[in-house]
Amino acid sequence: MTNEALQYLINTWIPDTVTSELEFTEEESQFLNINVQPADLHQLMFQLKNNTETNFDYLFCLTGVDWGKELGVVYHLESTTHRHIIVVKVKTEDRENPVFDSVCDIWKTAEFHEREVFDFFGIKFNNHPNLKRLFLTEDWDGFPLRKDYLDDINMIVK
């Protein structure tokens, strides 16, 4: 499917599947990007995977990002049957207690990737079966990949 067709199709899911407006952009990226509200994330992802026309069955990259004011997660999805790619972004301004819905019931690979994001960004995922630190020790203080993280001993700041 072309990006225009994808955008058209996904827009038809409002308001049944997705309750609020979606923001589409192709600027500054080689893929079609969707910004989604945290409340709609799981329904949108479920539909993207299970709709036969989209069929995004391969989550090839799940990235935590600290945009400064906001924390968020970027999902790169590809369909192994149609070979189209889409990028879904979800953001929250709540830096104290950022929470999104987990997508590990949709793609099993998300379980490890979400644990990695939790470890380094402190973003929690609802309904995750085993959400605990993956690389760092349980008593580690802070979330190292956040932009405001400081560690005088282990970090060389230029």
């Binding site: 989550l59 990259c61 990235t63 099993k108 690389f135 020790t137």
Partner: protein, 373 residues
């Protein structure tokens, strides 16, 4: 009578056992928490981070030329392909067209890297299931590739031969001759691998029907590389999103549909043949020209997001750069193939025996620094 009573009252209990972090079969510092009942595995939980260096955080402070160095240290057996991934991402972002000579050399060295990596995997694969001889056969042949690399760029493993805009130096005058010698040599040696290990009945009995992974699960777990292709999932990035000179060569994607450990084994053996075929198609026709194009001393990427996929020896490596227009990336994520492949270990090992876990894990071909980035 007494014995029967004891047997009836005996309750099998689950217990934990640590495998690693210093275990020869984990090929690095990986710790697996095994829940076992007798010798049957109930659960495998990897404990990671023993060699985590936070390369992604370091990238945020480094320039794009410096980042290339760090990628050597992720999957050190595919170091040249990792370098290429970052260079391609930067070149695409800056819209630099590298000379044909660079593309062809990158592809040749990339495929030689893949042969060297699969070669080492084959050696330790045999060793993991108790066949020590394979290790010496594999290292004899792999040594020739390392010597070729050493002559051309000075390093044998962490090559750092690519730079954004091309290659650090031109190939050594002996390069073409020695690569041809290697191909001739390896074509006579690779069939020996089959007689020694592949066709061994004991080996096949340990591999067939063990570590089953269906195609649906392979996709859902984000499997890539030989792990995905052993389950009939056509996922070769070289075919789907060709880069460098890979669109100019013909080769077959190694695919097996069985989904067991032996299928993953066979995929890698076939890939060595295919890689040799790719090298043979290119080695006589390396175009003349420059080996690099001039770039600014300080590389600044335009504002935006850039994603580059390549096929390393382990699968799909993704480089995701978020740039704000400065000389450092704002965020750089490496989607490493080993990380996703490790996540399916629990799935394929549960219900099997500890010995089968070792054999299945060997066919995932894990490189721990690639997982602990």
């Amino acid at each position: 009578m007494e014995t029967t009573t004891i047997n009836n009252n005996f309750k099998s209990e689950e217990y934990f056992i640590n495998m690693g972090p210093q275990h020869p079969a984990t090929h690095g510092v990986l710790r697996l928490l095994l829940t076992i009942d007798g010798e049957t595995i109930k659960k495998v939980e990897p404990d990671l981070g023993y060699i985590h260096r936070s390369i992604e955080k370091m990238c945020e402070r480094d320039s794009y030329q410096q980042i290339v160095h760090l990628t050597d240290r992720m999957d050190y057996l595919s170091s040249n392909i990792n370098n290429e991934a970052v260079c391609l991402a930067v070149e695409n972002a800056l819209q630099i067209e590298v000379p044909e000579r660079v593309k062809v050399i990158r592809t040749i060295i990339g495929e030689l890297t893949r042969i060297a990596s699969h070669n080492l995997w084959w050696g330790v694969m045999g060793m993991d299931v108790g066949a020590l001889t394979t290790y010496f056969y594999a290292f004899r042949d792999r040594e020739m590739i390392n010597d070729i690399f050493e002559e051309t760029c000075g390093a044998r493993l962490t090559m750092n031969y690519n730079i954004p805009g091309g290659l650090m130096f031109d190939i050594h005058p002996n390069f073409v001759k020695r690569v041809k010698e290697f191909i001739t040599h390896f074509k006579t040696k690779l069939p020996e691998y089959d007689t020694l290990l592949t066709n061994n009945v004991i080996f096949q009995k340990r591999m067939r029907g063990v570590g089953m992974l269906s195609k649906e699960d392979a996709i859902s777990y984000g499997a890539s590389g030989p792990v995905g292709r052993g389950s009939g999932y056509s996922c070769d990035v070289r075919k789907l999103h060709p880069y460098s000179a890979l669109d100019k060569v013909t080769f077959n994607e190694a695919l097996r549909t069985e989904g067991d450990s032996f299928a993953r084994y066979e995929v890698r053996i076939q890939e060595m043949w295919e890689s040799m075929a790719i090298v043979e198609q290119l080695i006589d026709n390396i175009p003349e020209g420059d080996y690099q194009v001039e770039t600014n001393a300080v590389i600044k990427l335009p504002k935006g997001e850039f994603y580059q996929k390549v096929e390393t020896a382990r699968g799909e490596l993704g480089v995701y750069i978020i740039s704000t227009g400065t000389k450092n990336p704002y965020r750089l994520k490496f989607r490493s193939p080993g990380f996703s492949n490790l996540s399916l270990l629990n799935h394929i090992a549960v219900g099997g025996k500890i010995g089968d876990l070792v054999a299945s894990m060997a066919t995932l071909d894990l490189v721990i620094p690639d997982i602990d980035r």
